[in-house]
């Protein structure tokens, strides 16, 4: 079975976030594998272990080499090969462009199953997966919490509001993986060392912008002051204020 796994390299959300001239300062970012994509890698490896086949990781990124160690860890989990498409113009918030470039590569791989994380922790659009599926003209199921393989049929548990939709389909198909879909294994040190010997291909690509909408500016939300203590004479008063703030200011209610 031929499985392609899409990997997005994302900045750690604990990094220092600074806005300079309306743009996010990205030069100090350290990148890591998108945690949602790790579930995809683990699931792919599990399928390979069950029915045989090949797991190819495909990533699209700039020419920054600091990501290589993290990608090798994914190989150490059990993937066979990693292909990194490189362009210095790459941006994480351009799902149409990225999906187009990735789709071209994935098509060459002739994959039966394409797996990816449901969203990237940088931009949370959850768009690249479904877009890629459309461009490859294959069905897709997003937000899958459980995936099973029986002969040539996959059964996916798709998370929806208040329940799980159980869907069956033939392949080829694209599945985007939700958190805790499976338990990602901790690669043994020897496997990490061995991964240095597995194929790691870098390929430069053109970054032709597609239909993505340019962002105008970035701002930081009002600083978490670490504690606005709500004053009030009575519990009722305090609660009223809290509810008001949560509705109007925080907009979470």
């Amino acid at each position: 079975m031929n499985i392609a796994v899409l990997i997005k390299m994302v900045p750690d959300t604990e990094s220092k976030l600074e806005i300079v001239n309306g743009k996010l300062e990205e030069s100090n970012f350290k990148y890591m594998v998108n945690p949602y994509d790790e579930f995809a890698v683990e699931q792919a490896v599990q399928f390979k272990e069950a029915v045989g086949g090949k797991v190819t990781l495909v990533s699209l990124f700039t020419d920054n080499n600091t990501i290589d160690t993290d990608l090798r860890k994914m190989i150490a989990i059990g993937a066979d090969e990693v292909i990194v498409l490189r362009s210095k113009d790459y941006r994480g918030d351009k799902p149409s462009t990225n999906a187009e470039i990735l789709a071209k590569k994935v098509k060459e791989l002739n994959a039966d199953l394409v797996l990816c994380g449901v969203q990237g922790i940088d931009y949370y659009q959850a768009a690249t997966g479904p877009m890629l599926a459309q461009k490859l003209d294959i069905p897709n199921i997003s937000g899958v919490t459980k995936l099973e393989l029986n002969d040539n049929l996959i059964t996916a548990h798709r998370q929806m509001e208040g329940g799980i939709q159980v869907i069956e389909s033939q392949m080829p198909i694209l599945i985007s993986c939700q958190k805790d879909m499976t338990k990602v294994r901790f690669p043994a040190l020897k496997d990490i060392m061995m991964s240095k010997r597995k194929p790691f291909e870098n390929q430069t690509v053109d970054y032709e912008e597609e239909a993505d909408i340019k962002q105008i500016e970035c701002t930081l939300p009002p600083a978490r002051g670490g504690g606005m203590i709500i004053e009030g004479e009575t519990p009722e008063e305090k609660v009223d204020k809290l509810i008001n703030i949560l509705k109007m200011e925080a907009k979470v209610l």
Binding site: D12, E14, F186, P187, A188, L189, K190
Partner: protein
């Protein structure tokens, strides 16, 4: 009257010869088996510092230094041990039908020899009686589940002693009737035996002789099989004790200069990571199995055992010995049994250890329990990848954000807000704040207190700021040696970049790892615990601390007191007026946080910190002083759980509260 005559027409020495060959042969065979098993272990470089080793052998083996730490049982044992050293040559005399004594008579040493032997038997006899009294009358708690084996052995020893005196007395009775004043106890026996008829006397003496020799032969056969194997094992164990500072873990691979091989150069193809097979241990780790006397002192002080966990340090050593004995024949053919060391030890036990070293500290024969557990952890983490799930988060956070909680590394110096502190600049001292002190609200106030006091005293110091990362201790104790090494190498570079070689830290784990373990990675620093510096400043009057009223008890951190060797400075720093818990100083009882355990789940009814919190609460002190961020968390938690509202404060916080500010 002597037993050296014919029996059923055959000379006595033929019977003795047969028995000797049998018993001695079995003994040598078994000892040889054990020695060959121990030699299966990897190399362990302990053939150095011979002068020191001989001295240690004299004080610890001959002098029974650690044995007599337990006054009653220890002295009882010492008496038996010294007694036997004195009487041991008697068996040569008895075995040669008295020829040995004849030889000594020629050089006029027979008298003194006889006296030494008699005193020896007497000392051993007294020791045995004390020991039997302890076992059968006092019946201490720790011996509750032991088998009758111990008492039987003691009775057998008593048998050897009594029969020896009977034989001695026998020599003085009969036709000769010559009392030997060099054998005072023999004389006592002789006087008692005087009235017995000749034929009965003859029987008694013959019987005593053969019982004596059979018991000795029996011991020869039994020694390698029971806890008596310590007669063999303690010799290499005491002789080749660990000269590294207590608690120091070793790198995966070292070069010819005994420095750690750099992580890029590690030879993973040929490296075994940790221990899972019997032969993965070093010979010195294996000899521990046969040095154990089953005294259970380690068990008594183990916090995991006390809190009802699966781990029992004595059981680990017994497991090692039993595994070796059971699978010995197979192991000696070069094969490995299906059962692994990890399976025998039981992973639950392996993960329960807090690496507090109370067991190693208590052991009279220098057994090193903890490294066996941390070595199996290395295998579980780096090879088998089977370890508690919570540690996966820990490892990822350390790797990615250089702190165990995965918080933004750029917020590390936020605690300094409002204080004017040098960050990343050269200074006389480097204040290594540590992760808890940088990120945990409760411990940030300890960092602030320490910084304020240092400034008040005019100490020139700087912190690393964002460059500081976790020292790697949790990764190392949890078995992720590779991650530790990468962090250590990076830290050494960072610390060296400031040029300061004197380090102050408020965390005993940083104190230990940076001070004692970083050396192998190129970082040799003078590391001080903040209590040491604060104490020095107080003594030099650079800090004026008012005496304070409220009663304080001090909980010694394991990595400062027992493992670090510093128990005085924190007490003096606090003004010396401490209400001590029963288990204090080097015998402090662990808070339960070490060994990466603070990041692992603990069953609610098996909480180490609650045991210690209760102990602290019962002193009646108004405040519990600590010197470690783990202890701070664990003790605070523990007290809350038992419903005690008394505050837990760090030494620096108490000193700051009572600081007399210079106007």
């Amino acid at each position: 009257m002597e037993p050296f005559h014919t029996y059923y027409g055959i000379e006595w020495y033929w019977f003795l010869l047969v028995w000797t060959i049998f018993a001695l042969g079995l003994h040598i065979y078994q000892v040889g088996f054990i020695v060959r098993l121990i030699k299966l272990g990897k190399e362990d470089h302990r053939f150095d510092s011979w002068k020191q080793r001989f001295k240690e052998f004299l004080t610890d083996w001959l002098g029974q230094r650690k044995v007599i730490e337990d006054k009653f049982a220890g002295y009882a044992h010492a008496l038996i041990f010294w007694g036997f050293l004195m009487l041991i040559t008697d068996v040569i005399d008895l075995g040669t039908g008295g020829l040995f004594e004849d030889l000594l008579t020629i050089i006029m040493l027979d008298g003194i020899w006889n006296l030494i032997v008699d005193i020896g038997y007497a000392m051993a006899g007294i020791g045995v009686l004390f020991a039997l009294y302890r076992r059968l009358v006092i019946r201490p708690e720790k011996l509750k589940n032991t088998s009758i084996e111990g008492s039987l052995i003691l009775l057998a020893i008593l048998g050897i002693i009594i029969t020896a005196f009977i034989i001695e007395a026998g020599n003085m009775i009969g036709d000769e009737n010559k009392l030997n004043q060099w054998e005072p106890i023999g004389v006592l026996f002789a006087k008692q035996m005087n009235g017995i008829s000749t034929s009965n006397l003859s029987t008694i003496i013959d019987l005593s002789y053969w019982i004596h020799m059979i018991l000795i032969g029996g011991f020869l056969i039994e020694i390698p099989q029971t806890k008596h194997s310590h007669l063999i094992g303690t010799v290499p164990n005491v002789m080749f004790q660990d000269h590294n500072p207590m608690g120091t873990m070793l790198p995966m691979q070292v070069d010819e200069n005994n420095m750690a091989v750099k992580s890029d150069d590690l030879d993973f193809d040929n490296l075994t990571l940790g221990v899972n097979k019997f032969t993965d241990f070093t010979w010195r780790q294996l000899s521990d199995g046969w040095a154990c006397t089953e005294c259970a002192r380690c068990q008594d002080v183990c916090p995991a055992y006390s809190s009802g966990k699966t781990l029992n340090p004595m059981q680990i050593i017994m497991d090692l010995k039993n595994y070796g004995s059971e699978h010995g024949s197979l192991l000696l053919t070069g094969k490995n049994p299906d059962e692994t060391i990890v399976e025998r030890f039981n992973p639950e036990a392996i993960w329960a250890c807090t690496t507090c070293y109370a067991c190693v500290n208590a052991c009279p024969v220098h057994i090193e329990h903890v490294p066996k557990l941390t070595d199996t952890r290395r295998h579980l983490v780096m090879e088998a990848t089977e370890f508690p799930e919570e540690l996966q988060n820990l490892f990822n956070n350390l790797e990615r954000n250089s702190n165990p909680w995965g918080l933004g590394a750029h917020t590390r110096a936020d605690w300094t807000e409002g204080l004017d502190i040098k960050i990343g600049e050269p200074a006389e001292y480097l204040f290594y704040v540590g992760c808890a002190g940088s990120f945990d609200e409760r411990n940030k106030s300890v960092s602030r207190a320490t910084a304020i006091l240092l400034k008040e005293a005019g100490v020139d110091f700087s912190i690393l700021g964002e460059m500081e990362t976790c020292n790697g201790d949790p990764a190392r104790r949890a078995g992720n040696e590779f991650l530790f090494q990468m962090m250590a190498e990076m830290n050494v570079d960072n610390i060296n970049s400031l040029g300061t070689l004197k380090v102050i830290t408020a965390c005993p784990h940083c104190f230990h790892t940076i001070g004692k373990e970083y050396e192998k990675y190129g970082g040799k620093y003078e590391v001080y615990h903040h209590s040491q510096i604060l104490n020095k400043l107080r003594k030099e009057k650079k800090l004026n601390i008012n005496d304070f009223e409220h009663k304080v008890t001090f909980h010694d951190p394991c990595y400062l007191g027992r493992i670090g060797g510093e128990t005085e400075a924190p007490r003096e720093a606090l003004g010396g007026n401490i209400i001590e818990m029963e288990r204090h100083g080097k015998n402090s009882f662990c808070c339960g946080g070490g060994g990466a355990r603070v990041w692992m789940e603990e069953d609610a009814d098996k909480r180490v910190n609650e045991i210690r919190a209760r102990e602290a609460s019962e002193t009646g002190a108004e405040c519990i002083a600590v010197g470690c961020p783990f202890c701070m968390t664990m003790m605070s938690d523990g007290l809350k759980t038992i419903g005690d509202e008394k505050p837990v404060k760090d030494i620096s916080e108490i000193l700051l509260e009572n600081l007399e500010v210079k106007t």
